[in-house]
């Protein structure tokens, strides 16, 4: 079943000096429960596309639909968005941060129960009453994940959420996000620079080329890796062969650009 449809999307940024074409003719579909990654050199518009899917702004041309509903300006649709840094509100307690979305939606669910369940699910000790500054970077990103999941989003958008972490926390968090999304049956889109991360986590990988951003190629991740956790996947033999293929493809793109 097609869950998300991006059709004929073009996007151009305007400034007084110039108009910069960020995306050209993007068409893709994502299935329900699927995990996909956007990779590509910087300037390939992958973050722009993610922001459009998040409904932060509308594309210059084209449409993005989730279950046949428009995204931009749709207040009914709930979307989870995780950024490079946690952006927890420093003046709110962990509990208030986790339940921020529920507070904004004036939900009358039992917030403190939801917060404590989610914090447990993301593998944190009871830190509800603490403030973000009292937690480490990895813990804070876990809280950000809990905050995103609290509103039960239809889709999770991950904008390089592991890139600011140290390697060990990054590997642990990849496994956690992977398992939680499988457990909750969520559809997810990950934007990353890291080919290995894309292979380890996703079902499909979209490679973009730069200036203007175009969809260059789509890779299917082999079945035998998909079911493994990201950490196990990295040790699998199919992992390195796919890594080589995508690596060469990206090298080729950069070569084209520089020549």
């Amino acid at each position: 079943m097609t869950f998300l449809t991006v059709s004929n999307v073009h996007h151009t940024y305007f400034s007084i000096k110039e108009a910069t074409e960020a995306l050209r003719d993007i068409n893709l579909t994502i299935q329900k429960g699927e995990f996909v990654s956007f990779i590509g050199p910087s300037g390939c518009g992958k973050t722009t596309l993610l922001s459009i899917i998040a409904g932060l702004f509308s594309p210059t041309v084209g449409s993005v639909l989730i279950e046949n509903q428009k995204i931009f300006g749709n207040k009914e649709l709930s979307i989870g968005y995780m950024l490079q840094q946690d952006y927890l509100f420093p003046w709110k307690t962990i509990e208030e941060n986790v339940t921020l979305g529920l507070t904004l939606q004036k939900s009358d669910e039992d917030k403190s129960r939801i917060a404590s369940t989610l914090l447990q699910d993301v593998g944190l000790p009871p830190v509800e009453k603490k403030y973000p500054r009292e937690l480490s970077g990895g813990m804070r990103q876990r809280v950000a994940l809990a905050r995103t999941l609290a509103v039960d989003p239809k889709i999770l958008l991950l904008d390089e959420p592991f890139s600011a972490l140290d390697y060990q926390s990054k590997l642990k968090l990849e496994d956690l996000v992977f398992e939680m999304l499988k457990q909750y049956g969520k559809t997810a889109v990950l934007v990353t620079h890291d080919i290995g991360e894309a292979i380890a986590m996703s079902d499909r990988i979209f490679l973009f080329s730069a200036r203007p951003g175009r969809l260059h190629k789509t890779f299917e991740v082999p079945e035998e890796i998909r079911t493994l956790t990201p950490f196990e996947a990295r040790a699998h033999s199919s992992y390195s062969s796919l890594f080589q293929i995508i690596w060469k493809e990206m090298e080729g793109l950069e070569h084209q650009q520089s020549s």
Partner: protein, 263 residues
């Protein structure tokens, strides 16, 4: 030597330094008043103009006993606190309106610059004519002197809040009002507090100048009255009282800061 001992020693050193700082602070205070007293008694300075601590103290006790001083202090304090609160509150509200409508803020930009550059105390005579020679004019003076600069500083802080916090809120479908309440305002509390600190000083200026111009009560009136009858004991006593109360107000704002800002 174990860790506990070292820690105790470390804490003791800090406490010791703190004691010395306090000691020198008190020493300066004592030296200042002693030197003033001695210089006045030995006629190194003109007693008529510079008075002396003992004379001021005697005058102070007299005025406390007949109850006049309490009245003057309470008038000035009331006006200053009100002017200060109104100025900061109005500045925050104006800043919020400017943040709400970027178009309006572009239109009003040059006017804010002009209003900020203008010396507000020059408006004194107009205020007195318009609002009458009473407390209203003085409070307005205390407020008007701080409102524009508060608006500008707080608005700048609103604009500089990290856009990613707003992005987080936007993905939760927050309204613009919710963005203001959840991110913009709390992120700007440190700036608002530092504006408060500046405004403590500014509203004292506004109120004292206001009292110079119109009042028949208050510490500003005592200063101008003392000047007119050439009673500099009175002028200097009022000055000292102003210094003490302005400091207390400043300390209260710092207390508020510690309560309000948790990180």
């Amino acid at each position: 030597m174990n860790i506990n001992n070292l820690h105790e020693q470390f804490k003791e050193n800090i406490a010791k330094e703190k004691r010395w700082v306090r000691f020198y602070q008190l020493l300066i205070l004592l030296a200042f008043f002693t030197l003033w007293e001695v210089a006045s008694n030995l006629r190194w300075i003109d007693q008529l103009i510079f008075s002396s601590p003992s004379k001021i103290w005697i005058l102070f006790l007299d005025n406390v006993r007949d109850g006049t001083l309490a009245v003057h202090i309470s008038y000035t304090l009331f006006e200053t606190v009100l002017g200060f609160v109104i100025g900061t509150l109005l500045g925050t509200i104006l800043a919020a309106i400017l943040w709400w409508s970027p178009f309006l803020s572009k239109i009003l930009d040059p006017y804010l610059v002009i209003l900020n550059a203008m010396p507000k105390v020059a408006l004194g005579p107009i205020l007195i004519v318009a609002l009458g020679p009473g407390m209203t004019s003085i409070i307005t003076m205390g407020a008007i002197i701080s409102v524009i600069i508060s608006t500008i500083v707080i608005y700048t802080s609103f604009k500089n809040v990290d856009a990613n916090y707003l992005k987080v809120l936007q993905t939760f479908n927050a309204t613009r009002f919710q963005m203001f309440k959840e991110a913009i305002l709390p992120a700007s509390f440190p700036t608002i507090i530092s504006t408060l600190k500046v405004n403590v000083g500014l509203s004292w200026v506004g109120v004292i100048v206001g009292e110079f111009l119109v009042s028949s009560k208050g510490l500003g009136y005592l200063i101008i009255y003392g000047f007119q009858v050439f009673n500099f004991n009175l002028v200097l006593m009022s000055l000292l009282i102003i210094a003490i109360f302005a400091t207390i107000m400043y300390q209260l704002v710092e207390l508020l800061e510690r309560k309000l800002i948790k990180d």
